[in-house]
Symmetry: C2
Subunit: 110 residues, 2 copies
C-alpha cells in the first residue's frame, strides 16, 4: 500500500516521569526522522496533568511499507528497548495506524 | 492565553457504529469549523478494527479562549447532545487540550 498513513501513539505517563519519557522518546524519534518515508511528527503534551493520554505523538508517513521498514530497523528497536528496560519509567503506549477520514479547514462543510 | 492549542479527542466506537458516529461527528465539526480561531481538524480512522482508539480527532485552534468560546456555543452543544442522546451509539470520548512539545521534520534532531 503506497498511500500516506498516520501513526498515532497515545501515552499514559506519570507526571513526575515526563522529562525522562521525553528524553527516551526523542532518541527513538531521531531514528525515525532519518528513515525513508518519514514526513512529519508532532509530539503533543497535555495541558492538564490529570489527562489520561498525557502525550500523543501524531506522525505522518508516506506509506505503510516504509513505516514498517523504519520500525524494523535495529536502531529504532534499540531505542525502544532502552525505554522499556528503564526501571524508572512506567509508560503505557497505544500505537496504531490511521488514515485521514476528514480533513477540515475553516468554514468548510465536512 | 493566546498561544495555539490542539484538541485531541480519541474515541472508542463499536465497528458497526462507525458510519453513524462519523455522521454525528461531522455535524458537530461543521459548527466548530465556522467559529473564530478554528485552524484545522483532521479526523483519523484506525486501519485495524480492533484498535482501542478507533477514531482520533486532532484539531488546531488559535487559542484556548477561542476554543472555549466555540465549545460553549449553543449550536455545538446541540450537536453533541444529539450524539449523546442517540440510543444506537455507544461512544467513549477522551477529549483533552495539548501543546506541541516537539515538531519534527525529516533528518532533524529533536
Amino acid at each position: 500500500m503506497s498511500e500516506p498513513v498516520t501513526l498515532i501513539n497515545a501515552f499514559t505517563v506519570p507526571v513526575e516521569e515526563s522529562e525522562r519519557f521525553l528524553r527516551h522518546w526523542k532518541d527513538a524519534a531521531r531514528v525515525m526522522a532519518s528513515q525513508p518515508g518519514f514526513v512529519r511528527a508532532r509530539m503533543h503534551h497535555a495541558l492538564a496533568d490529570d489527562a489520561e493520554l498525557r502525550f500523543v505523538n501524531v506522525a505522518e508517513w508516506a506509506s505503510v511499507r516504509q513505516f514498517d521498514a523504519a520500525q524494523g530497523s535495529p536502531e529504532f528497536r534499540g531505542a525502544v528497548q532502552r525505554m522499556l528496560d528503564d526501571p524508572d519509567l512506567h509508560v503505557t503506549a497505544r500505537p496504531a495506524l490511521y488514515q485521514v477520514a476528514v480533513d477540515l479547514h475553516p468554514g468548510e462543510t465536512p
